[in-house]
């Protein structure tokens, strides 16, 4: 996880040097966006992650163009093997598995992105709010976050969901957000605390900016890469947690998502009847989506923490004598 970081080229110094420049707000966030884009482009891991994610997003937007079969109609032969008509075969009740995989991307992505975004937002409110408001606010908000941080999330998730008679997406997302924001809030609070006394914030205070302006225009843009890391981290967790809940049977069994597919694959004894692809394909998709978020996150970690990203090639060229000796000794 990216703990301490001073984003390279964050451009805080010029901001502090030009007090009261109109329009500096837009450029700060634009610069942050540009920095992220350049970072993604130049990092192989991030690029791989971004491409996988893009493919899934396309699947989620136009599933009908990719898979022409209706995903939930029981109209095909039962338990067919893979063929040109049914790329991944059919289920024992005659549904096309390929169509289900393609259509399943939509709900899975919605859960990941919506719950990821909302819980990042909550992390920002609780974390940055606590750090900036300070005093009793800090103590109070921080105590709530700390308590939620140590309560084991997954059992809590199951217990809360169990009291709901009808499982639908909204309680699922709400519970994911409430139980998942705390770790990010902790990280953001620590980062915001370290920024609090920096010159560029002092300058903003001296020129009489309001708190609201300082938080949204000065603090948040300079924390972009950490906020991204928090978002990606929660997104990975939420993809897996939601799929697990659906797999255990706490999702809506009529919904169309990869977790629900696996639930039916297990209950339909996919493994016993030899419908391997029914069990493998949705799980692989979940793993790939999780890996996409994780790869992006890993890349942001490297960008944020320069100690992890030194290139190995330079080492041989400038090896100091003691290192060569140490290497020979091995």
């Amino acid at each position: 996880m990216a703990t301490m970081q001073i984003p390279a080229g964050a451009g805080q110094a010029p901001e502090a040097g030009l007090p009261g420049m109109p329009g500096s707000a837009g450029t700060a966030s634009e610069r942050a966006a540009g920095r992220i884009w350049r970072a993604v482009k130049s990092n192989k891991k991030a690029l791989t992650g971004a491409i996988i994610l893009l493919l899934f997003v396309i699947m989620a937007i136009i599933p009908g163009q990719i898979a022409h079969d209706p995903p939930q109609a029981f109209i095909y032969g039962r338990s067919l093997g893979p063929s040109a008509q049914h790329l991944l075969g059919t289920t024992p009740s005659g549904q096309d598995i390929f169509a289900q995989v393609i259509w399943g991307a939509r709900e899975t992505l919605i859960i990941a992105l919506v719950s990821g975004l909302l819980s990042t937002l909550l992390s920002m409110i609780m974390g940055i709010g606590a750090a900036y408001l300070g005093g009793w606010w800090d103590n109070g908000l921080n105590l709530i976050t700390d308590i939620l941080l140590v309560i084991p999330t997954f059992p809590l998730l199951i217990v809360i969901i169990s009291y709901y008679p009808h499982s639908s997406l909204i309680p699922l997302i709400a519970v994911l957000v409430i139980t998942g924001y705390s770790y990010g809030a902790r990280q953001l609070r620590a980062e915001a605390l370290s920024l609090r006394n920096r010159d560029f914030l002092e300058a903003a205070r001296v020129r009489g900016e309001r708190r609201f302006y300082i938080i949204f225009v000065e603090i948040i843009p300079s924390m972009t890469s950490l906020i991204m890391a928090v978002f990606l981290g929660t997104a990975v967790y939420n993809v897996i947690a939601a799929a697990t809940l659906q797999f255990i049977g706490f999702g809506d069994p009529n919904s169309l998502s990869w977790g629900t597919m696996l639930y039916w694959a297990e209950n339909g004894e996919a493994l016993q009847t030899g419908q391997y692809l029914w069990a493998i394909a949705p799980g692989l998709c979940i793993a790939l989506l999780g890996a996409a978020f994780a790869l992006l996150n890993y890349a942001f970690d490297e960008i944020g923490n320069p100690a992890l990203q030194r290139v190995k090639l330079t080492r041989r060229r400038h090896s100091p004598p003691w290192r060569i000796r140490a290497e020979r000794a091995r």
């Binding site: 997954f154 059992p155 169990s162 009291y163 709901y164 008679p165 790869l295 080492r315 003691w322």
Partner: protein, 326 residues
């Protein structure tokens, strides 16, 4: 000392919050889950058990919430969690039987994952840029994003189905009588193989990555350079100088992960029908056996809280730098 007291205070506050959450949740939820449960079990269990539930959840006794809360706190403190409706025996007995299976399977696997992962992380960081370091971190970034239950499913599919030496369900073979004899012990070990492998594959990556990353940071420290300049043998620098210091954050993480053993059990035990804590939690949730659910949730949470407290104190003892900060 002040640090320890501070942590202890936080422990008490969090414990109180969890106990209260456990009380509030079933009463706060829309609909009336408790009445549903009562309706479901009427006629299936003894009148006495139902009355016990009625009293515990304050139905028709018209006790005020505050009185209920007070009673609940007293019962919890005495370890009196009522009767499990699905098992028709006291909740404490159900838990007492289940908890050892969970500790045995998942506890041992957690320790193994920590030891193996840390060793691989140490060697990976030491030979930075070597083949181990090149392959492992990316591989484990990916395996750690694979849902655990799917790994378990694949293991059942690829190994368990074809090889009878790897049973896929239960903690021991159906029909054997538990006892401290050799056939039973080997049977238990055999049943633990696949679930343990599934846990190992998905959890080892985290240890490797954190150990490698702290180790990389520590290797750049002056005292490591000093040790090299002194001409110490490589393995001594690796273990006594670098790994010893890089271990600190991982060690407290390890103490914490021991607390998460119980909570991590849910999916494993569901998938492999392993009759531990997580299995009974899901059983209770599915069958609306709320007395069992409440007690198990409390147990799981307390385990985590104790582990976190232990981790905090352990870090304070081992790493003098953290003491002044608190």
């Amino acid at each position: 000392m002040r640090h320890a007291l501070h942590r202890l205070g936080f422990f008490v506050v969090t414990l109180w919050a969890c106990v209260t959450l456990n009380f509030v949740l079933p009463r706060l939820m829309p609909g009336s889950p408790i009445l549903d449960m009562m309706a479901k079990y009427r006629g299936h269990v003894t009148q006495k058990a139902l009355e016990a539930i009625e009293t515990a959840f304050g139905i028709e006794t018209h006790a005020s919430l505050l009185t209920q809360y007070w009673q609940y706190l007293g019962n919890t403190a005495r370890g009196n969690f009522g009767i499990s409706l699905t098992q028709s025996e006291p909740v404490s007995q159900v838990i007492g039987g289940a908890v050892w299976w969970t500790l045995g399977l998942i506890g041992v696997t957690t320790v193994l994952a920590f030891i193996l992962g840390t060793l691989i992380g140490i060697v990976g960081a030491w030979r930075r840029g070597g083949w181990l370091d090149g392959i492992l971190p990316p591989v484990f970034v990916i395996t750690s994003s694979i849902p655990f239950f799917w790994v378990g499913m694949l293991l059942i599919l690829l190994v368990g189905r074809f090889d009878p030496r790897f049973p896929t369900s239960g903690a021991y073979a159906y029909g054997t009588t538990p006892g401290f004899n050799w056939p039973f012990i080997t049977d238990v070990l055999q049943h633990a193989l696949l679930p343990a492998l599934a846990i190992l594959v998905t959890s080892i990556g985290g240890w490797i990555l954190t150990m490698r990353n702290t180790m990389v940071t520590v290797l750049a420290e002056d005292y490591v350079r000093m040790a090299r300049a002194k001409g110490l043998p490589g393995w001594r620098i690796m273990f006594d100088y670098a790994a010893r210091n890089a271990m600190l954050p991982n060690l407290s993480g390890f103490a914490m992960s021991l607390g998460f053993v119980l909570s991590g059990a849910i999916v494993v035990e569901y998938l492999f029908s392993y009759q531990g804590v997580g299995y009974y939690l899901l059983l209770g949730v599915v069958n609306q056996d709320y007395a069992l659910v409440q007690a198990l949730f409390l147990l799981i949470t307390v385990a985590v809280l104790v582990a976190i407290l232990a981790a905090d104190l352990l870090t304070a003892v081992l790493d003098p730098r953290t003491r002044t900060g608190g």
